[in-house]
């Protein structure tokens, strides 16, 4: 998706390909993609940033008195959907949200990420991000509702076993490639029905756009295969959840990897250590953004390759940050806590801000841990000063409220909307009587 289009080129291409509908896409605070759909006749108007929508109708967006919002399409994001049927072609453009006075709207997560990226650029860096997105493919039940089944129960004995999930994944990769993705790897994951597709690293803004596009494409293709794709972090108790590991590196403005230093024993530059220091320091504060749902914290438990402790390691996969063995231009940090329910724009904004703060304040990360932290005794972890990431959403919100650096990167508007929305969810969750409670207490008391 690296093509740079001009207005004229898009108009011409849309006409050539007989595109009929264009979806103007943006993402709300909670990470849900929104569409304002227009017909081809309105495309020119859209490209002139003249399409308006009512912001107050979008979750966590704007108050009623500031409801008029403008969409500014990012021309490089123009893509024609490969799955649209013949004769009814549809395309999309990812947009930034602007206020009527022509300034960026502070409640638009894409603007927020751009703001932090600008801060990085002033210091001389760009952020490259390679995400690894996991998801589950489930069957539907006899009423067409999503279920937790991964295999059809209707046993037809004359049927050779067909890998429906695997076929769907192949189709997804094919579609994503057509949309300009470079796929690095794809495989079955640990849990039944779980899949992973990794795509090539890109600058942070594009990576966030790609994550949103990826989720949309995966859902649509899964549906075409009669399957339900979910990015819920932990859909099934007792098996691995779905993560969205984020591989990050800073590049200097001339394109060289700023994390690499051949003279260091680990191949790490001073900037890399400082950045890592910031990532570890602010981990409690930004976890609410990288893991924003109640369900997120059911994934972050020991025993399923998900991180629980704030530490880093070169070899071991249990801590929050892993440093993959690849060096040189591939030197990077892998943050293992984020999950795919995160708003990618906000998650990358806070993580970058944490790293930049590490550089600003010349932070030094603690020594790496080489052994499996899960196996360490509590005392041993305490001696080594290894803290845990927040264990539930409420705790994460509390930590976020204490972290001024992370709050500043989000901006007052998004911070407040996020807290309000999430607290409502927490309240609903806390007052529900769950099956677990019934099983545990109904007979006991």
């Amino acid at each position: 998706m690296q093509k740079e289009y001009t207005k004229e080129a898009i108009l011409k291409k849309a006409k050539e390909l007989e595109v009929e509908f264009i979806h103007l896409q943006f993402t709300d605070v909670m990470g849900v993609m929104k569409n304002v759909s227009i017909t081809i006749e309105q495309l020119e108007k859209a490209l002139n940033n003249e399409i308006m929508f009512d912001g107050s109708s979008i979750d966590g967006f704007a108050r009623i008195e500031e409801s008029d919002m403008y969409l500014r399409p990012d021309l490089s994001t123009f893509v024609v959907f490969p799955w649209s049927p013949v004769g009814e072609k549809e395309a999309r453009l990812i947009c930034d949200v602007y206020k009527p006075d022509g300034t960026p709207f502070s409640g638009c997560p894409r603007n927020t990420l751009k703001k932090v990226l600008k801060e990085a650029a002033i210091k001389g860096y760009t952020l490259n991000v390679g995400p690894e997105c996991e998801f589950f493919l489930f069957n539907t039940d006899e009423k067409g509702e999503p279920s937790l089944e991964t295999h059809d129960n209707a046993g037809y004995f004359d049927l050779a076993p067909v890998d429906l999930g695997g076929n769907a994944r192949k189709d997804m990769i094919f579609t994503l490639k057509e949309m300009g993705f470079e796929i690095e790897a794809s495989h079955h994951e640990v849990a039944p029905g779980q899949h992973e597709i990794d795509f090539k690293y890109d600058n942070a803004l594009r990576a966030a756009d790609n994550i949103m596009t990826f989720k949309m494409a995966v859902r649509i293709i899964a549906q075409r295969h009669g399957l339900h794709a979910t990015f819920m972090p932990k859909p099934v108790y007792g098996i691995s959840g779905s993560g969205m590991h984020v591989n990050m590196s800073l590049a200097s403005l001339d394109g060289n990897n700023a994390f690499y230093d051949e003279n260091d024993e680990m191949g790490f530059s001073k900037v890399a250590y400082q950045f890592l220091g910031g990532i570890l320091e602010h981990a409690p504060g930004y976890t609410a953004m990288t893991n924003p749902t109640i369900n997120s914290y059911k994934r972050l438990v020991p025993g399923f390759e998900a991180p629980v402790h704030i530490a880093w390691s070169a070899s071991n996969r249990s801590p929050l940050v892993r440093v993959p063995a690849k060096k040189g231009n591939s030197t990077r940090l892998e943050l293992r806590s984020p999950d795919p329910s995160a708003n990618p724009y906000l998650a990358l904004a806070v993580v970058l801000k944490a790293g930049l703060d590490g550089i600003d304040k010349d932070m030094t990360p603690p020594a790496p841990v080489q052994s499996n932290i899960y196996d360490m005794k509590k005392v041993e972890r305490k001696e080594k000063g290894i803290e845990s990431i927040p264990s539930n959403l409420k705790e994460a919100l509390k930590e976020l409220s204490k972290d001024e650096v992370i709050k500043e990167s989000l901006g007052e508007h998004i911070y407040q909307r996020f807290i309000d929305n999430t607290l409502i969810e927490w309240e609903q969750y806390s007052t529900k009587v769950t099956q677990w409670e019934l099983d545990k207490y109904l007979r006991k008391f």
Binding site: T140, E142, G144, L164, R224, H225, G226
Partner: protein, 192 residues
């Protein structure tokens, strides 16, 4: 001869059972689905000859299912509908076959539609195959002529000699003349 396989996708148990029974009586191999997604899963697993899809199927809309099944070449769709309206006939025009089943099902009409659909499908398939073969032959002939022309031009030999050369080269390499022709074209016109 293999028996025809037919997928019945209908969320109403009564009508699903009725249709399945009718089909089984005639010896068809029958598969069932109770919702849209289930229909897609079975279609992708067995590629049935026909997919009978009730218009009121639960889950994904029947028209959507029908489109996906035919676009991805999984099967051929025949809708089942109680009261066809203008919109239905408009949708029907885009499908492989212009045929549908009226509900409530009348058995003799039902069998007629099924047999009509299967027979027409066989004919369409054999015609498609013929067209494909013809297209391939035409493509091969074009390639061979082009290569022949290039050989004549570059080696300054007659058409007959060029053809013989092409034939013996492809025999030496144990590949079809079409492939040899492509190689020759690639050699003389690497940027073509």
């Amino acid at each position: 001869m293999d028996r025809y396989s037919i997928l019945v996708a209908d969320s109403s148990e009564t009508s699903r059972k009725l249709v399945i029974n009718l089909l089984k009586q005639k010896g068809y191999k029958v598969y069932k689905a109770t919702d849209g997604a289930g229909a897609l899963r079975i279609a992708r697993s067995i590629f049935p000859d026909l997919a009978l899809i009730d218009i009121n199927l639960w889950g994904i809309k029947a028209y959507e299912i029908g489109k996906i099944i035919e676009e991805d070449g999984l099967s051929t769709v025949v809708y089942m509908i109680r009261k066809p309206d203008d919109n239905f006939f408009k949708q029907l025009k885009n499908m492989n076959l212009y045929a549908y089943i009226n509900k409530p099902v009348n058995s003799s009409q039902f069998y007629q539609t099924i047999e009509f659909s299967l027979m027409n499908l066989d004919k369409i398939k054999s015609l498609e195959k013929k067209v494909e073969n013809l297209e391939n032959t035409l493509k091969a002939r074009k390639l061979i002529n082009r290569a022949k022309g290039l050989i004549m031009e570059n080696l300054d030999i007659s058409e007959n000699e060029a053809y013989k050369l092409l034939r013996s080269k492809s025999m030496d390499k144990c590949i079809s003349m079409e492939k040899m022709a492509q190689k020759i074209i690639n050699k003389y016109l690497p940027n073509d």
